[in-house]
């Protein structure tokens, strides 16, 4: 290993599928797999001093528990780290990145998340997909994504970001676009960087100078659903007690029906109405727009996980905490 390499912690929480030299798919299902998995990519240790940390296996569910563990492990290691790379499942990568963005605000360490194109260790139902990916991209993209992520993790970035394909995207700007070709994540504004001739990260990016704010509570459980105009909401009120709040994705053109507005008042719990473009107001609910769906969702979970009172919750949901709102 060359001298003066930066120390990068590589957190493994699913999304670790790679092709071995023999053409088999290999993923990290337990701590014991890490050595063999890393041996498939010896170049990683040339790029940085890599220290792997096992968080969860390829088949484990990714959610608030895992996000809380990752955040805690990052805090524990932030003194000795130059940067962090988190490998996690493709379907939850945006939420994972956002959970870390809200939990570790203004941390002076770069956090990059990345993933393989497929997740889970059961490949029987994915044979055709895997074969297509191999023919089209020569692999599952994790190898090149990791190489790029490790290099970007050594540069200062203001907040966690996703490195996938040819794009480096701020977590608050990322949208999942599974029909994308090389890139399965898009950005609602300019990307922070791109891979063209090597990695080209925007030169004006740096750590946030504000004091770091760390929130280590587990994100709150909330009920999430899409409103369909004309279709009534039928909930047993007792079922709602399992949740700290309700997140409703609403239509941007139609107001909520009168019955629904009355239901919101009756529920007497934190309720967020979300639409990217515009939301109509409803008494007892907070309207959120002008940010991505995932950002609004994770922000709601984060805000409800902390002991803010009702007024604070309303303020927080409308405040630009981590530059999550456009404009």
């Amino acid at each position: 290993m060359p001298k003066n390499n930066k120390k990068i912690f590589l957190f493994l929480a699913g999304g670790t599928c790679i092709f071995t030299e023999a053409g088999h798919i290999f993923s990290v299902k337990s701590q014991d797999d890490i050595e063999d998995w890393l041996a498939q990519m010896p170049e990683l240790n040339i790029l940085a001093d890599i220290e792997p940390v096992f968080i969860s296996g390829e088949d484990d569910l990714i959610g608030p528990n895992i996000w809380q563990t990752i955040a805690k492990e990052i805090i524990k290691r932030s003194e000795e780290a130059d940067g962090f790379v988190i490998v996690s499942k493709i379907d939850q990568l945006i939420n994972t990145s956002l959970a870390l963005t809200f939990a570790l605000q203004n941390l002076k360490k770069t956090i990059i998340t990345t993933t393989s194109r497929i997740s889970g260790s059961n490949f029987i139902d994915k044979k055709e997909v895997i074969s297509n990916l191999k023919n089209k991209y020569g692999g599952l993209s994790l190898r090149s994504n990791l190489i790029n992520a490790i290099q970007v993790a050594q540069q200062p970035l203001p907040a966690p970001a996703i490195m996938f394909g040819t794009r480096l995207i701020a977590a608050t700007r990322a949208i999942f676009d599974p029909l994308g070709d090389v890139n399965v994540f898009s950005s609602i504004s300019d990307c922070w960087g791109k891979v063209d001739f090597g990695i080209n990260v925007k030169s004006n990016l740096k750590y946030n100078q504000q004091k770091a704010k760390i929130y280590s509570d587990k994100l709150a459980d909330i009920l999430v659903f899409d409103d369909i105009p004309g279709v009534p909401w039928s909930f047993d009120r007792r079922a709602l007690t399992a949740y700290r709040g309700i997140f409703i994705k609403v239509d941007s053109y139609q107001k909520l029906g009168k019955n629904k507005q009355e239901q919101i008042i009756k529920w007497k719990m934190p309720i967020v109405l979300y639409n990217y473009h515009l939301t109509s107001t409803s008494k007892g609910a907070i309207s959120v727009s002008n940010c991505t769906f995932n950002t609004a969702l994770i922000k709601t979970m984060w805000a409800l996980s902390n002991e803010f009172n009702k007024k604070d919750f309303e303020n927080i949901m409308t405040q630009n905490i981590i530059e999550e709102f456009l404009n």
Partner: protein, 227 residues
Amino acid sequence: MSIQNLTLIVAGAINLIMSILVFSRGVRHSKINLYFSFLTFFNFLWAIGLWLSRSFTDLDLTSIFARSTYVSAIAIVISLLYFVVHFPNKIKVLSIKLKFIVWLPAIFLVFIIYSKLFITHFVNSYSEYEYISYFYKPFYWVYFVYFISIALLSLYFLWQKYKVVEGLFKKQVKFLFLAILVAFIFGVHFDLFLLYFGDFRFNWLGPIFTVFINACVFYFIFPKQEK
């Protein structure tokens, strides 16, 4: 101005523009940008050196510029080696031993190039501005073997990368490998091989083949879908 000299100026200008463009993208965090800027800058010096060597009737001036082209060629091949080590990402580190093998002969050759031990004398030929150099063959062979070895080593490193990289990088490495191979074959043919046999009529053709490398990188930086 002759078509030959115009060709050299165009090839030089393309390389200089590319060098500035890539350098301005930032070299602090990107060794790829740094070494590619060097590579294209020395390509520029090579082309301009050839143009100037063909632009004077005074053989003393011709001698200075003609000798500088051999120094530029050494710098080109060393920049190429460092560039391919880093492009698209490092998969191996240049050992201290290899660095010695690269740099010591290079320093030795630079001194030799500016002595009578490399080019013994110049005579005007073909036209009043063109010339023929007479080489001291043993050291020309040393130069030849050094240049070919470093260039082939660079191509070998790039080929090794092609086998392990995936996705977009695989395509990039393939294109760049082919572009470098073309520039290498024609550069060596027109500016080393033919010169050994005293044929200097086509030495202006070598630099134009470096434009293929520039075209490749330009395509990487400005891909169609991102426009």
